[in-house]
Assembly symmetry: C2
Homo-oligomer: 388 residues x 2
């Protein structure tokens, strides 16, 4: 039995409000009549919702001629600086911060080095809280307009309670991150899985704009994925759908950091590739591998070829399970060494199940290393509009 209860009426109202706000953001300035035309809502509903948005200070009226002859129409625009949010991306070696204004524009960005895996979670939490407190002060941000902090974290995240249940990248277990950051900054905080906010960012303002069902594969220090369907993040039963890196290819394969053998990430994450290369030549990063391949060194070409084969397999497997209309490839390797993308596409022509070939696009991430900060900050702005 579908559990549809009365409060769905509220959900619809919130969705309509979000929709109108998105239209104003996109077409600014725009008249009430045009919004009515686009949304097919009644003029009364549009008027009521616009009234609410004006009262909240998110939208304001501006008097402008609307093109043709005749009297001037009252146009609507957002107040781009009505409110702000802060996005945080906790990576393995860098914590990125960003301040986003209500329009969705990132005003300020700050990467800070850290060494999560070698220190206690508390040290990273201190670093984040201190940086935010400093940033608010230095940038002269109006705390009354600062509506929240959003944090993207690699791992299994209970986004409802704001707890990092498990992060192998950071070496964390059961860290009540959102509560601790709120305690030390006084600012409401939400946290979510990094790839879930990343796909949200690509959907809102990146390469997934206009796609209805987009999957994202992250290739980096680990391998993960996420999916967004008609603007809704696909979460699974406990917000942990998309653990592509720990799907098993070979029960006798290489040992993964998780304790299992033959996880997909042991074929294509950066440490696996470097480990493979270092059997032959000592190199410190992926860049040297691609350099060697460009110098026609056969060991490097072989490793890149094998990597692209297994990335092709990862694409096949995600397409078989999710049947998306687009797959975004993101992460250091595909973003900075684009030589590999055409090799991956060649492999896909072989290793993708035939009925799916041609049925989806392979896209690069538009937002690259800024995507998690943007997604995390957007999450806060979206929540604010929906809760108000």
């Amino acid at each position: 039995m579908k559990k549809i209860v009365k409060h769905d009426q509220d959900v619809i109202r919130q969705h309509n409000k979000q929709m109108i706000l998105d239209i104003i953001k996109e077409k600014r300035p725009i008249s009430r009549a045009e919004i009515t035309k686009i949304t097919k809502l009644s003029p009364t509903s549009v008027g009521r919702i616009v009234g609410e948005l004006c009262e909240q200070g998110l939208v304001r009226e501006t008097e402008l001629s609307s093109g043709g002859v005749g009297r001037k129409a009252i146009m609507l625009d957002i107040d781009p600086q009505a409110v702000f949010s802060i996005g945080v991306d906790i990576g393995k070696k860098i914590v990125r911060f960003g301040v986003m204004e209500f329009s969705g524009k990132l005003l300020y960005e700050l990467p800070v080095g850290h060494t999560a895996i070698e220190t206690e979670a508390d040290r990273t939490i201190d670093l984040i809280a201190d940086t935010i407190n400093r940033l608010v002060k230095e940038q002269g941000l109006d705390r009354s307009k600062l509506i929240g902090i959003g944090i993207g974290v690699p791992g299994v995240i209970d986004h409802e309670r704001g707890v990092v249940q498990y992060s192998s990248t950071l070496g964390w277990r059961n860290v009540p991150l959102a509560a601790q950051i709120k305690e030390r900054t006084g600012i409401d905080t939400v946290t979510d899985n990094d790839l879930k906010v990343k796909i949200l960012a690509e959907y809102l303002c990146g390469s997934a704009r206009g796609s209805k069902k987009t999957a994202l594969i992250e290739l980096g220090t680990g391998v993960g994925s996420s999916l967004i369907i008609d603007g809704e993040i696909f979460r699974g039963g406990s917000n942990s759908a998309g653990e592509l890196g720990h799907t098993t290819l070979d029960p006798n394969g290489n040992l993964c950091e998780c304790g299992k053998r033959g996880c997909l990430q042991t074929y294509i994450d950066e440490s696996a590739i470097l480990h493979e290369a270092n059997r032959i030549v000592e190199i410190g990063d992926i860049g040297q591998l691609f350099e060697a391949a460009r110098s026609d060194e056969s060991w490097a070409k072989e490793i890149i070829s094998r990597t692209s084969l297994y990335i092709g397999i990862a694409i096949n497997n995600i397409v078989c399970m999710y049947n998306p209309d687009a797959v975004i490839l993101s992460g250091n390797m595909v973003e900075n060494y684009s030589d590999i993308v055409s090799l991956i596409e060649e492999q896909c022509a072989q290793v993708v199940w035939e009925p799916f070939r041609g049925g989806f696009k392979i896209l690069a991430s538009d937002l690259k290393e800024r995507s998690i900060v943007i997604g995390a900050a957007s999450l806060v702005l979206n929540n604010y509009v929906n809760q108000s």
Copy 2:
């Protein structure tokens, strides 16, 4: 931008109607007041919706004492035979038919042998249409109450247009099945992927009742999967999510019927298992393999052990991608040779990614070989209520 437009109001109304109908079906007989209490809808809304259902002839009033002292309350009950639907399950060797009354009860079942792969699609379509026409006549079904036929088909199905785009099991490509059955029977027909209607059946009246996010793995002539989230079938971009059998484990593995190498189903579908067994001892079916294992023959025990390992991997991979709270195992092998289930559970303790262990249940299919017929017939009943 979320595409939420005005017609969502209708969606809510339909959901509420479906919810009330489901409650009446479950608690029959029940009073309006009790429905109001359960749904938290306003008495006015409940009254209006119940009125609609009565007008459609789906629900009727019955006068009954409601337990305690005092005046008799007017109770509501469904009319179990208000309408009927026919469910059809096209398998590789058997086409199953079932007549379902409005209460969800299967009144009549009929399996008919066929040999899809050796004949034209037209022959199977003739068989289905002729059988339904005969069945309607012989069973004396009232055509005015027969609201539709639902057909579950293995393969890639365009459920919106009623077209079988690709079915390797049946050897079909681009067969406009729904239109052809409607033409030959005069009865509205819908068609959908067999595992998608199967999980619907398990959700409505089988082992997935009460689960919020249930995945199903089918192990049979091929391997497939499906997912239902809060009562909604997970479809992906073109209704083809869940092609677990064609996810790749090993690019150098055995050749699959799809033309790729190392597809998951080449490890665990029945033909793969029989092929493996026949290297050692000539056997004709899975039953002989399990018999040999019970007689302690080591080749048989080894094959069953390896199969349970790879089924464990299939479970890990679906749990990683979908993060369900339950996984239903279905198909001949797990349903008829339950010896293997405890072996699979043992393997899961090793091969499932650690953060997911204990986070989901492994269930057997309750409805077994009747599940597709039930799901297909239910699809028609659900559509009818929603469209009326």
